[in-house]
Symmetry: C2
């Protein structure tokens, strides 16, 4: 009596400054296929849109009639106008702002689109398939070149009045701290990003010595090389990570005293150096957060990792598609 | 054809460390009668409960058959377990914790009770009848002996996982700042409370002179006397208020960068010194918050003032009562 429903999927797109990561995702969060292409925003808007269409086309070709693709969810950097599907402003697409990406894709790709900020998408990805599974109230902090964040309250991204909420990286954690790229002094990002690590180690090397950096040089000093140096026992690198952890501890204490969250999820490339910054984070948290609040919050490493963004895009697409179709069909598709 | 409904009212109770403020409040937020009694928690739990019952009894006597009292909303200091109507822990009722105030009142007063933290109740009072009218996303900051806060998101108090959210006063605004009563260093409260003003002025007087404090002395140096000193042109007092404003500016910047709020409402006794701290607040906000976010947030003085707590209690009672009765009756009662 039961009518068979073809297995369905959505496409998640994670648009980064360097790469576009894309995947076909089933209702259970399994990534059935994936693609990674250079973003190359410098080649212009038309080529960029062609690239997105060709990714979708490739997925369609791969699965031909086997999958019923229902929608496309996109995580993109910058300030996002979700309702209108517009990247309102993004340092990654200079000169394109505002960039009505969804409308411009509509002629090329015949699926419903769902757009979200990249850090928010990653937060949703962690909630769906990563370390935030089962949590409804948490903050996702991503440690990379900068520090991004996505705040989830009651299971939904908290966007604030104009969609600009979640700027955890630009919380002031020390008013006398170093200059941040945003122009403010002492932001979390000015302590806990790859840029901040590079700045601190470079400054320290003017007056102190480091066997590691003497041997390997400081050209292209990155979060990764700082992590390598810390693993090799380099004192400057270890101090930089300790300072990063302390700043994170202040930021996390503020977050939990204010919002009494269940979890803090820490992801991004730099989270790999967990053991070098986490002790200092915990120390500050014990000093600064209310004991009853600090005891309850779980601070965990992100697990969805590289896939968080595209999974979050897919999650959004599933959510958007399911809210448009009948609950019954949703039910079946989810099985 | 329309059936006449007797005008109804609720009772709002604002339980403070020193006074209980109570009022009979109609659906339009008008306070039809009010009472103020000393809290005197030191005389014991039974006497305290008697006092609450006698306040309610007095209101019943005053309005006899003219008003149909529908419920009682209570704002109380401490950590509140709303669902069970329990003051889980409060420095104002030492030794009573946990204090199941609603259950203990049930034998004495035959109305439904609604309990909330006092700062949260004041935030609701400001939303209903004060400076937060029309806002759905705001933070209420109350500057008194300490610094309290109530966070309203989507028109509701944000309680967090365990009802402990909203501790704006214990956001670290300067990790190297003065010791706070909570044991942490550099909390907003350690800069922006009457205690903090007293601490700073007292310390400054060890090395500097002040005509004002030489004349009037520093015994019982309070937020009010610090305000008087600032008005009289006293430099130490003015510096203390400037430092307070700067700390508030950092706290507010963090709040808006994180939550992209519509308004920040600043109340409590010390908010009377607005003109002495507000310029420094604005200066930090312009430095530290994202321009697009800072432009949009309105920072305003609380207007419901002394009544905010009891109005918030009444608001909660109306909300609770209306959710239990038929929407139709609600409709009529609200007219």
């Amino acid at each position: 009596m039961e009518r068979r429903v073809r297995p369905s999927a959505v496409i998640g797109l994670d648009i980064g400054g360097t790469f576009i990561k894309a995947g076909v995702v089933d209702p259970g969060g399994r990534i059935l296929a994936r693609l990674k292409k250079p973003t190359e925003a410098s080649s212009g808007k038309a080529k960029f849109l062609d690239k997105l269409s060709s990714i979708v086309q490739t997925f369609e070709d791969i699965f031909a009639n086997r999958l019923n693709i229902a929608g496309v969810g996109i995580g993109a950097p910058g300030i996002i106008d979700m309702r209108n599907g517009v990247i309102a402003s993004s340092p990654n697409f200079p000169g394109w702002n505002p960039f009505p990406i969804c409308r411009m894709l509509t002629g090329r790709i015949h699926y419903p689109f769902f757009l979200e900020n990249d850090a928010n998408a990653a937060a949703l990805g962690e909630m769906w398939m990563g370390s935030a599974r089962g949590a409804r109230n948490f903050c996702f902090i991503t440690l990379g070149t900068g520090v991004g964040g996505g705040l989830v309250l009651n299971g939904e991204i908290w966007h604030g009045m104009d969609g600009m909420a979640g700027e955890v990286g630009h919380m002031t954690v020390d008013p006398a701290g170093p200059l941040c790229l945003c122009g403010n002094y002492g932001c979390l990002e000015a302590f806990a990003s790859a840029n901040a690590l590079r700045g601190k180690i470079t400054a320290d090397l003017k007056t102190r010595r480091s066997a590691f950096f003497r041997r390997f040089g400081t050209d292209g000093l990155s979060g990764e090389s700082a992590h390598r140096a810390a693993r090799a026992g380099d004192l400057l690198a270890r101090e930089a990570f300790t300072r990063m952890g302390a700043a994170l501890g202040i930021g996390v204490s503020n977050l939990v005293n204010l919002l009494n969250l269940e979890r803090i999820i820490i992801g991004g490339g730099l989270s790999a150096a967990w053991k070098f910054f986490y002790p200092a984070l915990q120390k500050e948290l014990r000093k600064r957060a209310f004991p009853a609040i600090a005891r309850r919050v779980k601070i965990v490493r992100a697990r969805a990792g590289e896939d968080a963004g595209l999974l979050g895009g897919a999650y959004l697409a599933w959510k958007g598609v399911n809210s448009k179709i009948s609950p019954q069909r949703t039910q079946r598709a989810r099985k």
